[in-house]
Symmetry: C2
Subunit: 191 residues, 2 copies
């Protein structure tokens, strides 16, 4: 049996985040960074074309940034949102981010059903999305059986939701991944 | 920024799993182990009262076992199912468990919305549940906005679902946790 579950975070996450830190001052700059993470992740071959960033709601300063690590780290739960939320929770030393203040999860794509749940349990109070779930599906990914009005479900739980922020730029990365024959990492190759 | 995301797995996971290994030969013995993990996790104070086990569908041999580690490891995504599936993926060296054969996730409780998604993406072909989501809700936990017919959604994706296996024994652990004033670890203390 395995004694540890170590997830080696690529060095470029830290380098890219630190280099961008001075520029992160609003939702738009945070989304640009999330999209950059999605694109860089393709170039590095570390996982699916998804990036996510956690920022503070008050001054929009950067807390954590990450990308999908499913294929390179061998764990199907390492979607970009889970990676970024986990890094933020370790950074702020709490499993409940709300206890550290109001935080925003900025993701290059709308959440799949797992990440929708992960967002609720994380304690963030805002979710901002770039590409739509339908853009991910066009690229061959599966969003899972999400409730039809998923944004409303999050809002009912106190999480403000904003979609279509730089949607075109985010969707372009997904299309690029698909056209390049990128691996669709859903279990059993389902699309 | 954090460079790693190491998750220290408690030593008792391995000890308990190895001690039980010779007895795991069917669904019932696997569920008994999942429930034991849920109960031991309360005694150890390592997280919520949930346990999960991954076994092979052909000979029902044990692959991995775990419990909820949210509060002790500081990550809100570490529900028992995610922990057990991750350990199985590391053990079998693949993010797609289906590539390693047909595997069964045996959980002491029905999945929340996040773990429903995690189950789909993991590549397991069977899910077996002990307590119902309503039992967890009675104890103060939140299942999240799951689709109404969640079992059907999994079945449509090729995952066989069996519920109410040793439900009473599993629900008893949840009730015990609640009556003992156990921490409800949903973000922002929502119940």
């Amino acid at each position: 049996m395995i004694a540890d579950l170590n997830i080696d975070i690529p060095a470029w996450f830290k380098e890219k985040a630190e280099a961008a830190r001075p520029q992160i001052k609003d939702i738009d700059s945070a989304m640009a960074l999330a999209i950059e993470f999605s694109a860089e992740n393709i170039r590095r071959g570390h996982g699916g074309p998804f990036g996510a960033v956690v920022i503070r709601a008050d001054d929009h300063s950067l807390v954590a940034a990450g990308a999908n690590l499913v294929t390179s780290r061998g764990l199907s739960s390492l979607h970009a949102e889970v990676v970024a939320l986990s890094l933020a929770q370790r950074m702020l030393k709490t499993w409940d981010l709300h206890s550290a203040g109001e935080l925003i999860l900025v993701s290059s794509c709308e959440p799949c059903i797992m990440c929708m749940g992960a967002t609720i349990w994380s304690g963030v109070t805002h979710l901002v999305c770039g590409a739509r779930g339908s853009d991910a599906e066009l690229a061959g990914f599966d969003e899972g059986p999400k409730p039809e009005h998923w944004e409303d479900q999050l809002r009912q739980r106190g999480i403000a939701v904003q979609v279509d922020v730089q949607r075109d730029a985010a969707a372009k990365v997904l299309a690029h991944y698909a056209s390049g024959g990128g691996k669709i990492y859903n279990a059993r190759g389902q699309s």
